[in-house]
């Protein structure tokens, strides 16, 4: 019973944080931007979904779509402000970091100004039911979270594997210089990447809002966890991010159960430091099939 509860919690958290980490990881490896504005996109799409539930419909599909679309818009905004003007100037990594941090700060303050400090909650988009599976009680939001995040992330990854745009993005992830030589427009692809990863952030925001409330600063902790999972998995590797998300989700659920919720970040970072001490390039160092050039 207890084990089942911890396990299901761990899997739910792993799915949500994994979605964020994969988004951050794709952003970093394809456009070379550590997107600190991700927390802002996360909060923004939470509010987008909330507005949709207030003014359009409380239907789960509508709310989820609104969140994803707002996230994609937020991604485009970050791309237009922090990627396009400076991506080919010297020192882009640091400048991009600062620019996205600025977007994050300005954006969250703007959200605070517009929507006020009171946190909002979204309707239960997955309904209200539960099943009892061999003594483990699975509530609707847990099942919905896991299914939706796995389906969407798998769809995104399959799309990246099979389509022409996906080939462009993967080519840019591996060698941006050669990508421009074969005729891939770095700026256009940047917009695609940021819209997709923004959409992933929006998805994670709506899914997490089934557990937590939406607030202007609510994106900060998920973003830190997403960044640390992406780092732990090896920046740029999707499989590494998935494995790291499972490990860290398990750790979070176990710590919350055994020690108490206030110790979660402590054990999280101890674990990350240990992993990076053993494998400085992250977990994906094990999985890297290609020979170094």
């Amino acid at each position: 019973m207890d084990v089942g509860f911890i396990l299901t919690n761990a899997i739910v958290l792993a799915c949500i944080y994994g979605t964020l980490a994969i988004g951050l990881s794709i952003t970093w490896s394809s456009v070379g931007l550590i997107n600190l504005g991700y927390g802002f996109i996360f909060a923004l799409s939470g509010y987008g979904a909330w507005l949709a539930s207030q003014y359009i419909s409380t239907n789960g599909v509508v709310v989820l779509t609104a969140g994803v679309l707002t996230g994609a818009l937020g991604g485009l905004l970050v791309c237009a402000l922090a990627f396009i003007p400076i991506h080919d100037k010297p020192n882009f990594t640091v400048r991009g970091l600062i620019a996205t941090l600025a977007i994050s700060l300005i954006g969250t303050q703007a959200l605070l100004y517009v929507f006020g400090p009171r946190s909002k909650n979204l309707p239960d988009i997955f309904g209200f039911w539960k099943i009892n599976l061999a003594g483990i009680v699975l509530t609707s939001d847990k099942i919905g979270n896991v299914v939706v995040s796995i389906v969407v992330v798998t769809a995104v990854l399959l799309w990246m594997r099979s389509s022409r745009r996906g080939l462009e993005i993967r080519a840019m992830m591996m060698n941006p210089h050669a990508a421009s030589i074969v005729g891939i427009g770095v700026r256009k692809t940047g917009f695609y990447v940021m819209a997709i990863t923004g959409g992933l952030a929006g998805l994670a925001a709506v899914l997490l809002s089934q557990t937590y409330y939406i607030s202007p600063f609510g994106g900060l902790a998920p973003m830190i966890k997403g960044v640390s999972i992406a780092l732990c998995g090896g920046l740029g590797s999707v499989r590494g991010a998935v494995i790291a998300a499972i490990i860290l989700g398990l750790n979070e659920a176990l710590t919350a159960r055994l020690l108490g919720g206030q110790y979660v970040l402590i054990t999280q970072f101890i674990l990350i430091i240990l992993i990076l001490l053993v494998r400085p390039r992250g977990i994906a160092g094990i999985l890297d099939r290609a020979r170094e050039a």
């Binding site: 080919d88 993967r170 591996m174 210089h177 074969v182 891939i184 770095v186």
Partner: protein
Amino acid sequence: MSAPVAAQPAAPAERREILKVKGLSAGYGPMRVIHDLDLSVYSGERVGIVGLNGHGKSTLFYAIAGLTGWQRGSILLNGVEVGRTRSQGPGRYTHLVVRQGLALIPQGDEIFHGLTVEEHLDSGAFTPRAWKERKERKEKILKIFPPLVKLLKTPVGRLSGGERRMVSIGRGLMADASLFLVDEPSLGLAPKIGKGVMEALFDVELGQSAMIIAEQNVALLEGRVDRVIGMHVGKLKGEASASLSFQTRREL
């Protein structure tokens, strides 16, 4: 008036000017690598550029593709101006130049090490027309480089140097291009393999397109290209049809 025209059978009427470079200077930061360079290449022509390391062969190619740190001067590709005066932003407009009909096969291995050979060849055909015809084009490439047939599903990161070069050149030939720039195709390869790669390049049917090959080793080009041009400290020096290259005005 008609007599001198008839006396030049090598220059039929449809000989188009594919590339016309005028007054091109380019470099990186404070360094100026190419000085006021002029160059014309016509359709159906295979041109060799010969010069030592660091004299600007690669930079000339990069400048045509818009990949240098800065550049100025006019570059007409198929009659369209692609050379902008830039002070920054290397690679920002490269994809537009590529769409205009350029295929750059860069020095060394500019490859995507995680993609398979097949995806690699696909990635060479990003222009809309080439993408539709990519199946036939792939078959053509595999006929030129038969060793690649068995490797289609292998990630390029696992290939040997010679195989990588084949992939890299194959990727360039996949494009629907009118100008092929090949930068030191034999670099770093065993002489026999390097020679095979060069042979493959000489055997490519150009049709209405043109090809420029940069090489350090004149012997590899001798007799197989239409013209050989020397390059020395950022300028083109001397020119000869390849068959005469021993008796020509080489000012090196």
